[in-house]
Symmetry: C2
Subunit: 312 residues, 2 copies
């Protein structure tokens, strides 16, 4: 299966281009399952898995995609990596597509190793079902750092999201540098992504490539430019909710037909049990709070993006 087609179909089926980001911080886990101070990595990882399984069940009725950020698993070392892949597999079993937010990249022969690990066929101990459907990668090395990811992803029917414009304020220090042609560095990266993503062997029947882009809108005008520069890429748009992008900015990441983007919210959903309104409704049932956080996210996304649900 082609990842661009698979993602397009999954969004259509659930009727909303929404993705929940899973960034588990131990101290923020629900009290009932939070690991004790001094817990072994194994015990802490088990708590993260328990939390993740609850989140997955709670969000699966509402959204087509979960984005699991490996950075939050790495502090638990080997136990964390096992937990990450266990939750990728659990997400698949719940019918979710999975984006592994790993932001890897290196020079060519090293990128190949990252690609085999993160978006390949697994190993003798890690099943293909425990590997994400797509991952995020960093473009700083240019095409020969990216090419091995494309080759491995294509071979295994998986996808990529290249970092183009990130959501942090200081992203402009590098990404926002203006070139003599008036484009910023990240707009230039967008042109490179289109060069890679528009090749016929990576574009699916949906018209979308297996190569998408991470784009956090900064302002309306530049978002329109960057959307036009990458017609073949589905945008992964972070920061709905906690990172505070406006509805109009986010809407410009979509094409006029309502396709072309996937909007992510993380903390506002997975920690919904810590916010008054959800708690008032569901009390100590943290999974129910997460479900109602996911529903709220999806409803608010639908309300600002009528075209998205209309495409269902």
């Amino acid at each position: 299966m082609h990842f661009g087609d698979q993602l397009t179909a999954a969004i259509r089926e659930k009727g909303v281009a929404a993705c929940v980001g899973f960034d588990p911080v131990l101290e923020k886990l629900p009290e009932a399952i939070r690991p004790k101070d001094g817990a072994s990595d194994q015990d802490a990882a088990a708590a993260v898995v328990a939390f993740g399984r609850g989140v997955i069940s709670a969000i699966a009725p509402h959204v087509p995609v979960i984005k699991i950020n490996i950075a939050f698993f790495e502090p638990l070392y080997a136990a964390g990596i096992d937990a990450y892949h266990e939750l990728v597999r659990a997400s698949h079993e719940a019918g979710l597509l999975v984006i592994g937010d790993v932001k890897r990249a290196d020079i060519g022969h090293t990128s190949t190793q990252y690609a085999l690990a993160q978006v390949g066929g697994g190993s003798n101990d890690v099943a293909p079902e425990a590997i994400p459907d797509a991952i995020t990668i960093n473009p700083y090395f240019g095409i020969d750092g990216v090419k091995p990811f494309i080759d491995v992803a294509r071979r295994h029917g998986r996808g990529l999201f290249v970092l183009v414009q990130t959501s942090n304020p200081s992203a402009v220090e590098v990404q926002g540098l203006v070139l003599p042609d008036g484009l910023t560095v990240c707009q230039h990266v967008a042109k490179l992504v289109e060069r890679w993503a528009g090749e016929s062997n990576v574009v699916g029947e949906s018209g979308y490539s297996l190569i998408g882009a991470v784009v956090s809108p900064r302002d309306l005008a530049s978002t329109v430019v960057i959307r036009d520069l990458m017609p073949h890429s589905i945008f992964l748009v972070p920061g709905f909710g906690a990172q505070g992008r406006t509805a109009e900015e986010v809407s410009k990441c979509f094409k006029s037909d309502g396709t072309g983007a996937l909007v992510a919210a993380s903390r506002s959903v997975i920690y919904a049990f810590a916010t008054g309104a959800h708690y008032a409704k569901h009390g100590e049932d943290w999974a129910a709070c997460v479900g109602s956080g996911a529903k709220e996210f999806v409803d608010s996304l639908r309300s600002v993006l009528p075209a998205v649900s209309a495409s269902a």
Copy 2:
């Protein structure tokens, strides 16, 4: 201890600014220890550890630093991560400084998680001795993706090398873009690195910062420019040997007093047993071949960089 001071002292002690890169590919391991097809991740990781222990013992008399690339461990998942940290610890026991080549980066609160894992104090199961002394990071997010790494590294007496100019041909696609002021993107990144690295709370008694830079020289003129832009940073210079930088290009990464850079060679040393000359001398004793590869690397580096050994 301050990482810039520690690295400066280690180079002085061994009398050469050389670093061996450990990038283990299973298929290239010495036949005697190569894992069988279909080996479990655990067994394959054990082979990598056996190889690594041999390499560490062979190179420790010759070089002050080993750079271990985590990308080559990730395809073995949890077992690979255990192997990586076991070899970091073994390197420390052999008296080597360790650079973890991990090339991580993300937005702020996610970078904090990567930093805690890769350059922090370890966990309840991974001892501080099993954590590298420094790691490589990617600058694409600007300062707020980098700052958490600086904070965590400083707190734990560790260091960083920010990717500035990488060795792959297509690096120019992004890093080589020329800005209106005539500087390239990577030279602009070099200015940012100096802004971060030159702050008084990260500069050690040696005059060098705990924040270094990965710089692969592209040509003489631009290397002089980039050396001048980052006076407080020790350069990690890849590509001596297999990646084919000339001696003169590499020498421009050093300051006139012979300090300021650490030159890495990987495949030409760790796979020395696969090359005719070393094999002819040592036969099936692959560790002896690696030792003689390390000696050859160090000798050739000393011959082209007299100032470096003179600073000993």
